[in-house]
């Protein structure tokens, strides 16, 4: 062989071999999955805050140490959970010695961690039935009280709400963002009866407190969905011996039936402007996705496929929907326009992918995926290029974003029972919200701007 011929031949061989590899691997699933440690690798700089003791204001008729301690704990939880701050407890820093009041700022600054920017404190006035709190947010560099002597007042029983309001105000002043300290999570709880079980809809504060039952129909009531303003809850119920959509006011009153179709109707999802509800119904012979107005009228069919199409979720801008379909074999997540056009597939793996939830930022979709025995929660970017696995233990389903997009709620049976958990998107920290001896699933999370 001539030397030229040899080189030429080797070149051609390499071309063939490379194209072989490329074609072979392009027909397989080649989606890399990152393990989730939060998105904070972008380095979200957290401001350092210290929370001081809540003390009784001079002249307060009643002084309650325990209540004051509780209120401080709520501040600590709210500000830490928000994800914007590194929060220290002043009492911890003073280790048993009595911490000075926040107002006495000069002596404080020497004792605080390097770089502490702000100090939070408050003075409460308490009588038998009402409590008020004059909160302080001290800017340690200027000595100025950023909260400018705002006082919040409420019934004594609502002291949690009081502190949540102040925390939201602090978050707003320091970050410009709307806080979720006063948001609510609705969920389904299964109650075991004698020979049967039934599901009721519950709601709770975003930190798991004040769990309250909203339905009392002693039947199957599932898949709650808050309207974006938190005033109305839509849900599926077997009240009339078939699965249909109903709605309730946030306080549990004013039950209304939204649909009366044949077959099974379920999976309500509100549009971001609160005017439309997407849902799944089999009243035309197969489970398809529909859209209707918030009163239950003018329904329009969006999918026309013999597969099961269900679990719709509006996009953040209200122009698209993501949903679950088994039209490609095993369940996958799809996206379509709000008129049903332009259907495209988001997930390409061999697992069953279900319950998609679109983030408020519009950039991510979270879903549950697995073989059924150990489903995990995943987050993917909208084009499907990057994917993170969020949970690693147990069976995890029904993800739902917090209204500010900084947290994700979901149900998990990793403790042995089904309970609601949240994960913080920027740090990856898990928080368990329910521990009531029942199976709790299907969270729906919304602002609660009703009081």
């Amino acid at each position: 062989m001539f030397h030229d011929g040899e080189i030429r031949f080797k070149k051609i061989l390499y071309v063939i071999v490379t194209s072989v590899f490329c074609l072979f691997y392009s027909t397989r699933e080649s989606q890399a999955i990152d393990v989730f440690t939060g998105f904070s690798s972008q380095g979200m700089k957290k401001r350092i805050l210290v929370v001081g003791p809540i003390t009784p204001k001079q002249g307060s008729p009643v002084v309650e140490e325990k209540l004051a301690l509780k209120m401080k704990k709520i501040f600590l939880y709210d500000l830490r959970y928000s994800g914007y701050f590194d929060v220290y407890d002043l009492d911890d820093l003073f280790m048993g010695r009595s911490a000075p009041r926040i107002k006495d700022s000069p002596s404080l600054r020497k004792m605080l961690p390097q770089g502490t920017k702000y100090a939070v404190g408050g003075e409460y006035t308490l009588d038998e039935s009402r409590i008020s709190c004059e909160a302080t947010l001290l800017d340690l560099s200027s000595g100025e009280n950023v909260l400018k002597n705002i006082t919040f007042r409420t019934q004594k029983a609502n002291h949690r709400y009081l502190i949540h309001r102040i925390s939201d105000e602090i978050i707003r002043l320091l970050t410009g963002e709307k806080g979720i300290c006063n948001s609510k999570i609705a969920y389904t709880s299964r109650v075991m009866g004698n020979n049967t079980s039934f599901n009721e809809i519950y709601e709770m504060d975003y930190d798991g407190h004040n769990q309250r039952r909203l339905t009392s129909a002693k039947t199957i009531s599932i898949s709650p969905a808050w309207s974006p303003d938190g005033r109305i809850l839509a849900f599926t119920s077997f009240l009339a011996n078939s699965a249909d959509l109903y709605s309730l006011f946030w306080d549990g009153s004013n039950l209304k039936r939204l649909t009366s179709f044949k077959g099974t109707t379920s999976a309500p999802s509100w549009s971001p402007d609160g005017k439309l509800i997407a849902f799944a119904s089999s009243h035309e012979g197969n489970m398809e996705i529909y859209i209707m107005d918030r009163y239950g009228h003018s329904e329009r069919r969006l999918t026309h496929n013999r597969a099961i199409d269900t679990s719709p979720c509006f996009s953040a801008n209200g122009r698209e929907l993501c949903f679950t379909s088994d039209r490609a074999g095993v369940r996958q997540i799809f996206i379509m326009d709000i008129d049903g056009a332009n259907i495209r597939r988001l997930t390409y793996n061999k697992r069953a992918n279900d319950s998609p939830s679109w983030s408020p930022s519009g950039e991510h979709i979270s879903y549950s995926s697995g073989n059924g025995v150990s489903n995990a929660i995943y987050i993917t970017t909208i084009e499907g290029l990057r994917t993170w696995q969020v949970t690693t233990r147990g069976n995890n389903e029904a993800p739902c974003w917090s209204p500010d997009g900084m947290h994700l709620a979901f149900s998990s049976n990793s403790s042995g029972r089904w309970d609601i958990y949240t994960v913080d998107i920027y740090g990856g920290k898990l928080t368990r919200l329910t521990r009531n001896g029942r199976d709790n699933t299907s969270p729906s999370w919304s602002y609660h701007d009703v009081e």
């Binding site: 397989r28 049967t196 089999s282 099961i308 279900d354």
Partner: protein
Amino acid sequence: MFDSCLNKVRNWYNYLTLLLGRYGMLKNAVTLLLILFLSVVLVSVGCHKASKDSQVRPTPTQAVVPEYIPAPEPPSWDPHQPRQPRGIDILVSESKGILQDVHFSYDRFDLNSDSKRQLVQIAEWLTQNSDVRITIEGHCDERGSNEYNLALGERRANSCESYLVALGIDSSRLSGISYGEERPIDSGHNEFAWSKNRRCHFKLMLY
């Protein structure tokens, strides 16, 4: 060792180009043809693999075409005589034996041969008691979302209903409903419990 393979391939390639060169084809054209041929082969292999991987699910209409089943036994009463109505208690106690649950595989709604046999038995009993109406409840195990399981339970109920209709039972006597994963009969979190929950349950509709 690699070199000897390389040599073999190279010799084969040279032989091919010589051969086709006789028919006036350029060396470049040969190479191009070779790459094209390999691509077609690999893509078709890849496509075949991909289509094998995705589960072929029976469409709803496919799932319920029954095999040939011999006609049920002729009724044991004389159709020309007015039939004595059977007491409710007798019906209820008989139904307990006849209306047994029919089971399904994970994520499937097609009937296996056991299920078909049970449904044939149910159809016979329904034919003998033409006043009786039943509800067919579709259920699922806890895996999968509640919404998907409502749909799957409905598919299971429809499978049973279509089969009974194909066996001659009037559809007005059958009423289907899905409870998804919401009414398990075994609340365990293991395959033993799950296999019991993947069922269609039949209930007598008493007036």
